[in-house]
């Protein structure tokens, strides 16, 4: 098991103890099977308790684990066949958003998602999953193509935010995101969205308008990252735990507030513990939902999508 966080120390300690006992047993040929069994049970119990009581900030940390599967790994594992499509036809090809056609369970699907890199070099190449306007415009081009050929769209969201760069502003970062929000609201084909890691603000929402929006169990989605929120409200990054709680950014809170449609369960401790299982779970959810959504009449599906987002917000009539 991959135990990399401070809060996982109680488990790590028990695992270490277990290893020691096993070593002793091997050397001295003493029967310790009872102790080992007891320890194993204790580990399981500790894990269960720990992972079912994670704080917002702890989930944020898991969502950023470098060994969590990223978009392309999902697509390549889920699909029998995948053709990546590049470029926005205007400025260039953004490496932080990828997309293309895949065959999933015999059905053609347009996949679009943020892409992070797995090592330093690739992280830079992918700009840490922070897209420029051409990324959002590539996404829109692919969605329009999907609409033309009646192919459903699946988006996988994992970004620390849209890139705050000089060229991004020159090329209209705001306009690019806004355009996607509008066009996705009325796209004629079904759209499914999954927050598979970080869902930071407009950069995430720019791919996040769908008939069904899911968050994976240990991900976050909000208007700002807990670090930035802390630095704005308390002028320091030290209050990120408090900010994470205040923002109510976990999947559980988001579902409770009716801002997402569902939660996809992850393997205990997070997707990085067992990538095959988490990818399989997402795949099954896609197959199930596309089945349902494709049955709906186009106009009804769009009306439902618009109604869902229109109902978001809490106001009081005084």
């Amino acid at each position: 098991m991959n135990l990399s966080f401070d809060f996982e120390k109680p488990i790590a300690d028990l695992v270490e103890q277990l290893e020691k006992v096993s070593q002793v047993a091997e050397k001295s040929k003493v029967d310790v099977s009872a102790t080992i069994k007891e320890l194993e049970e204790k580990i399981e119990l500790t894990k269960k308790n720990l992972y079912s009581n994670l704080t917002g900030w702890q989930k944020v940390q898991i969502s950023r684990h470098p060994e969590r599967p990223y978009t392309l790994q999902y697509i390549e594992t889920m699909c029998d066949d995948f053709i990546e499509l590049h470029g926005d036809r205007t400025v260039g090809d953004d490496k932080a958003i990828v997309g293309g056609l895949g065959t999933l369970n015999g059905q053609t699907v347009m996949f679009i998602g943020h892409q992070k890199g797995a090592n330093t070099k690739m992280r830079q190449y992918r700009n840490f999953g922070m897209a420029n306007p051409e990324g959002y415009r590539k996404a829109l081009r692919l969605m329009k193509m999907a609409e033309k050929f009646n192919v459903p769209v699946v988006t996988l969201i994992d970004t620390p935010g849209a890139f705050p760069g000089l060229e991004a502003e020159e090329r209209g970062q705001g306009e690019a995101i806004a355009r996607n929000l509008l066009e996705m609201s009325v796209l004629k084909v079904p759209i499914l969205c999954f927050i598979i890691g970080e869902g930071a603000s407009g950069g995430a929402l720019g791919l996040g308008i769908g008939d069904k929006v899911y968050m994976l169990e240990y991900t976050w989605y909000s208007v700002i990252s807990p670090e930035s929120c802390s630095s704005i409200l308390w002028r320091s990054w030290d209050f990120k735990e408090r900010a994470a709680d205040a923002l109510k950014l976990t999947a559980e809170d988001m579902l409770k507030n009716k801002l997402i449609d569902g939660i996809v369960k992850e393997p205990l401790g997070g997707g990085h513990q067992d990538p095959t299982t988490i990818i399989e779970t997402v795949k099954n959810q896609i197959i199930h939902d596309l089945n349902e959504l494709c049955k709906l009449d186009v106009d009804k599906r769009i009306a439902q999508r618009i109604d869902k987002f229109s109902a978001m917000g809490v106001v009081v009539e005084s």
Binding site: G165, E169, G174, V186, I209, I224, C229, L259, V314, E317
Partner: protein, 281 residues
């Protein structure tokens, strides 16, 4: 030889006897620092006569400038914000709201109104920067959403005057989803072939730029207005370089192709009404 001779050294007038200029009679232009005579400001649409700097004004002033004879009906005025997240930073969110309402006399950061401009019907949603930095929360989203429904029902053209620091952090993801909500509603308005004018005023930033401010059939701005998605400080920290002069001004944004035109406040009403007349024929 001097004409006058000082009898006693120093200034001896007591504070009470000093002839003071009444508070607020004179302002200083934030741009050219020249004095502005307050009673003249209204007739000059709150624009500096010396340097054409457009002072920041609120919904009250915009409605006065644009609607015929200052006649309009305010819509959905009774909406106020809830506190779904029990958000607390240095203050509790409901306390902050109450305080701001008392201070500004506003219910939230946006007012919606229906009136006529040079005889043509128009529904305007106008943001108020005084109200928590013109931040977009549930009330802003809901008022825009209902105003669009109102426009569709009565077949009126629609306008939003943006003036905002972006999303309202105290409403977290609720605030984020107002971007989705308003954009989806604008898509509906667009399907009904009703014109939507987006006017960006100083400042138009963050989530507002990344939703309704950039979705107009025409997008226009006041001279010198700051318009952008990311804040200049964040960009500077990211690219570790100084930003060029005039970065993220209306003129810069127009140069890069994202504004139809920049309009002086004094010409705004005439230009808007001729656009509406052409579109609503």
């Amino acid at each position: 030889m001097a004409w006058f001779k000082r009898n006693k050294e120093g200034i001896l007038t007591t504070t009470e006897e000093k002839l003071d200029v009444p508070e607020g009679l004179w302002n200083k232009c934030p741009s050219c620092k020249k004095p502005l005579y307050a009673p003249d400001l209204e007739s000059h649409q709150y624009v500096c006569q010396h340097c054409n700097y457009h002072l920041r004004i609120g919904s009250h002033e915009y409605f006065q400038i644009l609607f015929d004879d200052n006649q309009y009906e305010e819509l959905f005025a009774n909406l106020i914000s809830g506190d779904p997240l029990q958000f607390e930073d240095t203050k509790k969110y409901p306390d902050r709201l109450k305080e701001t309402m008392k201070k500004t006399g506003l219910n939230d950061a946006l007012k919606s109104a229906h009136g006529k401009i040079n005889g043509s019907d128009l529904v305007i949603c106008c943001m108020d920067f005084n109200f928590i930095g013109g931040s977009m929360g549930s009330v802003v989203g809901e008022k825009i959403s209902r105003s669009i429904d109102y426009c569709i029902k009565h077949r009126y053209p629609f306008m939003i005057i943006s003036k905002s620091g972006g999303a309202r952090m105290m409403e977290a993801a609720f605030s984020l989803m107002q971007m989705a909500k308003t954009s989806a509603k604008l898509a509906l308005l667009s399907q009904h072939k009703l014109p939507y004018i987006s006017l960006c005023t100083d400042p138009t930033t963050g989530g507002v730029t990344a939703s309704y401010a950039m979705l107009g059939d025409i997008i226009i701005a006041e001279p010198g207005a700051m318009i952008g998605f990311a804040g200049p400080r964040v960009i500077k920290e990211t690219i570790k370089k100084d930003l060029p002069k005039g970065f993220q001004t209306a003129e810069f944004v127009q140069e890069h192709g994202f504004l139809d035109f920049i309009v002086d406040r004094k010409d705004m009403k005439a230009k808007l009404s001729s656009f509406i007349k052409m579109m609503m024929k």
